[in-house]
């Protein structure tokens, strides 16, 4: 599904100081994988996730998404790919505070460029029901619990029927019990819906629940 070839990512902090976040990364993620990217903070795992999620471009190397060379794509094309194929779940939930639960979940459908095979509102309500958020459709994010917010975020990520879910420390802001619920939810998505799920984490306990562990340290996969 995603292939990273000799990827380097450098940040120019000032004229002479260059920080290398990723060094010669080669990585293939297959369809329907359940993987984790694990490493301490500053190891480059978030940078790697952003590259996989087509939010950022590498300094060197090539990224293939379904065998398409992403480096040759313009912003519009990349945006469409993100919209259609990738769902993001963030540590901070990143819901838009002024929009209701339902509106947050519907957000990505506004930017759809292709015909969707579903009625957006019906699908959103269906997801709300599935994630136990019934009755919260019209609530604003600050009126529901952290666990509920993260479930809204997952529902939002699933809205467009993505092939890939990228979860960046999805349990980082939740207590252990709620965190486990979220993890189970992601696991379900992988097992029942055959969606590729990649969890980025620093917690070995969480990583051990995934089928594949990609360990990264100082910008290199070990």
């Amino acid at each position: 599904m995603i292939k990273l070839q000799n990827i380097w990512k450098e940040y120019h902090l000032d004229k002479e100081l260059v920080f290398t976040a990723l060094k010669n990364i080669n990585l293939t993620i297959k369809d329907k994988e359940f993987a984790s990217i694990i490493g301490p903070s500053g190891s480059g795992k978030s940078t790697l996730m952003h590259l996989i999620g087509l939010l950022d471009t590498p300094s060197q190397g090539k990224i293939f998404f379904d065998d398409m060379d992403v480096s040759k794509m313009n912003d519009n094309k990349l945006s469409s790919l993100r919209n259609e194929y990738i769902g993001f779940v963030f540590q901070q939930f990143n819901l838009i505070p002024k929009l209701t639960v339902l509106e947050n979940i519907l957000m990505s459908t506004v930017y759809a460029t292709k015909k969707m095979g579903f009625i957006p509102r019906d699908r959103a309500l269906d997801l709300i029901g599935r994630f136990g958020l019934n009755g919260k459709e019209n609530s604003y994010p600050n009126k529901i619990s952290g666990g509920q917010q993260q479930r809204v975020a997952i529902a939002r990520a699933l809205m467009m029927n993505p092939k890939l879910i990228l979860a960046d420390e999805p349990t980082g802001n939740l207590d252990t019990k709620t965190g486990q619920q979220i993890l189970n939810l992601l696991q379900d998505l992988h097992e029942k819906e055959k969606i590729t799920v990649i969890i980025v984490t620093h917690d070995p306990g969480i990583a051990s629940e995934t089928k594949r562990k990609i360990e990264i340290r100082d910008g290199e996969i070990i």
């Binding site: 939010l55 950022d56 469409s80 919209n83 957000m107 930017y111």
Partner: protein, 398 residues
């Protein structure tokens, strides 16, 4: 369509969230549009008022005045220029096509009745003058040429002066007033002319036969000569004939021959320029309003960088972000423009009884178009800033 609704809804939600800020930002545009539209409305009202005044004087009116008349030298030579005498009048009388002639001697003085006294513009002229200028009599009668020949001490008064001297209920006709110590009998009162502040000029006149006013005009000279052309006479031919007659005695710069249409267009063009300058000055406030919008849009963009990042992650293209902020800027400006227009309309409606200002369709169109354009111009830079953020920059922003 759905997308447009989404954009407008997003803008609306942001306005509701920041009510105070929205109102203050729109206020800049509101004031700008209000002042521009009001000035245009006043300009139009003034123009209409002047045209009405001229039309009430009747067509076929030709005016012979000292100097270059109105306009060309700013009317300076109207005062202290040449004066016309009977030689001129008699020569002009001989020109074919002139139906009536009215030389004018003018003086501002006090008209007294019992203990009351009113300042009035005295016009000493012929009986024909009422025909020349279309002045209508409301009560009594006008004086005739034979009254003039008899040097009859009679006066026809403007409505305002008559009202002030005699009050509303008393009979005005038949009363005697004193002008510079001489007794004049009021034989007629003129109809009220025009409506506004400028019209009072017509309504405070006192018209007397010129022969009865020689005690005020011992040199027997006249300030201006008004002529009425007969129906079907070519005015420009008549004007050149009048001109060549007077050129035998005076230099070209000493006098001017103008007709209604020419005078009206001169005055109109003066007012148009004046109005344009005023509107241009008012338009500066629109630019200031626009800068206010730009400022707030930059703040809004900065506040919402994280949101932009989330939207980009969910698949929003650069243009989606650009449109979102553009719509917001234009809507902000348009709200101000609309409110300014409504307020201008209310003010015009309120003062209509005192001054006939009016807002035409062009002003409405201009106000809305200009406020949209201002929103567009001043919104494009902040919106571009938002759109040019890379998704990763935006989503990492705290």
């Amino acid at each position: 369509m759905k997308y447009a609704i989404f954009l407008i809804k997003t803008a609306y939600e942001d306005f509701v969230r920041n009510k105070g800020r929205t109102v203050l930002t729109s206020l800049g545009i509101l004031i700008g549009v209000l002042s521009v539209v009001l000035l245009m409305a006043f300009g139009l009202g003034l123009k209409k008022y002047i045209s009405d005044q001229f039309e009430s004087l009747g067509k076929n009116l030709v005016m012979v005045m000292p100097g270059q008349g109105f306009g060309r030298d700013g009317g300076r030579s109207l005062i202290g220029g040449i004066q016309f005498d009977f030689k001129d009048i008699n020569k002009l009388k001989r020109i074919k096509g002139i139906k009536a002639i009215a030389p004018y001697f003018m003086k501002t003085l006090k008209v007294e009745y019992k203990t009351k006294s009113e300042l009035s513009m005295l016009l000493a002229t012929t009986g024909e003058s009422f025909e020349v200028t279309n002045f209508k009599i409301a009560e009594g009668r006008a004086f005739s040429n034979s009254d003039n020949e008899k040097s009859a001490k009679v006066v026809v008064m403007g409505s305002e002066t008559a009202e002030k001297l005699f009050g509303n209920n008393e009979d005005k006709v038949g009363k005697y007033v004193r002008i510079q110590g001489q007794r004049f009998k009021v034989i007629g009162v003129m109809q009220k002319q025009g409506g506004g502040a400028l019209g009072s000029d017509f309504n405070t006149r006192s018209i007397v036969p010129y022969k009865s006013a020689y005690f005020l005009n011992p040199t027997k000279k006249f300030f201006a000569i008004y002529l009425k052309a007969g129906d079907g006479i070519n005015i420009s031919n008549l004007k050149s004939e009048i001109k060549s007659t007077l050129l035998k005695r005076y230099k070209e710069d000493d006098f001017s021959v103008t007709d209604q249409v020419e005078l009206l267009s001169t005055i109109n063009s003066i007012f148009s320029i004046l109005n344009l300058v005023l509107v241009a000055i008012a338009a500066i406030s629109l630019v200031v309003g626009g800068i206010g919008i730009m400022n707030i849009m930059y703040v809004t963009v900065t506040e919402r960088i994280k949101e932009i990042g989330i939207r980009r992650a969910l698949g929003a293209r650069k243009n989606d972000i650009l449109y979102q902020f553009m719509v917001e800027a234009v809507a902000l400006s348009l709200i101000g423009g609309l409110l300014g227009l409504v307020l201008a309309y209310l003010i015009v409606a309120l003062i209509y009884n005192f001054f006939p200002a009016y807002i035409d369709l062009f002003s409405v169109f201009l106000a809305l178009a200009v406020s949209s354009i201002i929103g567009f111009i001043f919104g494009v830079f902040p919106a571009k800033k938002a759109a040019d953020l890379t998704p990763i920059e935006a989503i990492r922003y705290e």
